[in-house]
Amino acid sequence: MRGSRSYLIAAALGSMLLLGGCALQPWVKPYERESLADPIMNLQRSTLIGQHREHVYDVREGARGATGIQGTGCGCN
């Protein structure tokens, strides 16, 4: 009972948050994004360098995923 009530509250809060988003106006206008558009602001500046670094970490560490980079699969065991 308590569990279903928690889900209901979470669903209501989630819906409010999502619906609230419909009223949001972009607070950083396109003409204010010059700095963000600079290549130095890319979280991943080169696909090859980024994928290779992730491969090196995947092979040597027990953690993986959530890097925003698609893996290519390998015999990492």
């Binding site: 080169s46 959530a66 290519t72 390998c74 015999g75």
Partner: protein, 367 residues
């Protein structure tokens, strides 16, 4: 034979997906990624392992809605790691990986379908990726969803391929413009594996005696990462990332990264970063087990350890012809130190540690 039917299946899937997208076309607001050609030479060396080789990537727009990406990556591996020198003979092998992807822009969405295959003499990994990135709130937020299905064939020299491993990866992410100078992103990924997840060459120690390692045939992991990047003014850019990882093998890991980048003149860009990773060991890891259990491994990657990396990138814009092309040469190097808290070097009885470096030289042409 299996690989041929897999490729047929992938091509059919790609064809069907693209066909359905074409039928659903409309006005677009998101731009395709730039045309780019990249060539890289890379080398990793550490702990008795050296892996080096070339990598190539080409992405080309086909009209204003599609772009196609092709990539090739090779690893020439010379392995005399501590596992190998204490239980087997050093060896050399080559890994070749090929990727083919298609990007499609529809309205505010960028859809990517990609297939990849990685081939070693005793391991074949095929994967199919589908990713969708959608701009919302006037381009302030980009929401992304992705799925990867992987099929591996596991083999052993002298025995051929004897087992398989299947993988499912589900990811969701969001990138948010916070201010005119700051961006933030959050990513979550759930991964499930089913099949042979160990290494047929590796041995574990039980009461000092070598036995084949035995790991569970399923694994389920979750990872959550937060990243932020900001311009402090005059293109002095700082970035930070934190990832928390956990799985049902008992591994909990924390990874931190901090970086700083800036331009020197108009042609040079320098970037430095420090990365720290720490993790607990898997429940069934034991350096030298004193009881007989169903699962046992001495895979140091699944043990408790930490590693620190210190990296530098230097990019030089060699030539720019506005509106036509630009050529950028990037050198990247990272020095790493691994310190193990449970895994010992059986030759000395001391806890094991090693230094490593990773170097990459990239030529990138944007056109």
């Amino acid at each position: 034979m299996a690989a041929t039917s897999l490729w047929r299946r992938l091509v059919r899937l790609l064809g069907g997906f693209v066909g359905s997208l074409l039928a659903a076309g409309g006005a677009r607001a998101v731009a395709l990624p730039d045309n780019v050609g990249e060539a890289m030479a890379h080398v990793y060396s550490g702990g008795g392992v050296t892996a080096s080789g070339p990598a190539l990537l080409v992405r080309k727009n086909l009209g204003d809605r599609f772009s196609i990406t092709g990539s090739y990556y090779a690893d020439f591996v010379s392995n005399a790691s501590i596992d190998v020198v204490t239980t087997a003979s050093p060896y050399r092998e080559t890994r070749n990986a090929y990727g083919l992807g298609l990007n499609y822009v529809v309205r505010d969405s960028l859809i990517t379908v990609a297939a990849a295959t990685s081939r070693e003499p005793d391991y074949i990994a095929d994967a199919l990726n589908v990713d969708v990135a959608q701009d919302v709130f006037g381009g302030m937020t980009t929401v992304s969803l992705g799925f990867t299905r992987g099929w591996d064939q596991v083999g052993k020299t002298g025995e051929g391929f004897f087992d398989t491993a299947d993988h499912w990866r589900y990811r969701i992410g969001a990138t948010q413009v916070l201010t005119p100078n700051w961006l933030m992103s959050a990513n979550f990924e759930a991964i499930s594996d089913d099949g042979y997840l160990g290494n047929p060459y590796r041995v574990a120690l039980v009461f000092g005696a070598a036995v084949p390692e035995s790991v569970p045939r399923t694994r389920s992991s979750r990872a959550f990462q937060l990243r932020a990047i900001g311009d402090l003014g005059e293109r002095n850019v700082v970035r930070g990332a934190y990832r928390y990882f956990w799985d049902n093998w008992g591994i909990n890991a924390h990874t931190f990264e901090l970086g700083y980048a800036r331009y020197f003149g108009k042609d040079w860009m320098a970037d430095g970063f420090v990365r720290y990773h720490m993790q607990d060991g898997a429940l069934f890891f034991s350096d030298n087990a004193t009881s007989d259990t169903a699962y046992i491994t001495r895979n140091r990657q699944l043990s408790s350890f930490n590693d620190v990396g210190l990296g530098f990138n230097l990019a030089y814009t060699a030539k720019t012809v506005p509106g036509q092309y630009s050529v950028v040469v990037t050198g990247a190097v990272e020095f790493m130190n691994f310190k193990f808290s449970e895994f010992t070097d059986v030759r000395t009885g001391q806890l094991y540690s090693f230094n490593a470096y990773l170097a990459q030289l990239l030529v990138s042409v944007t056109f």
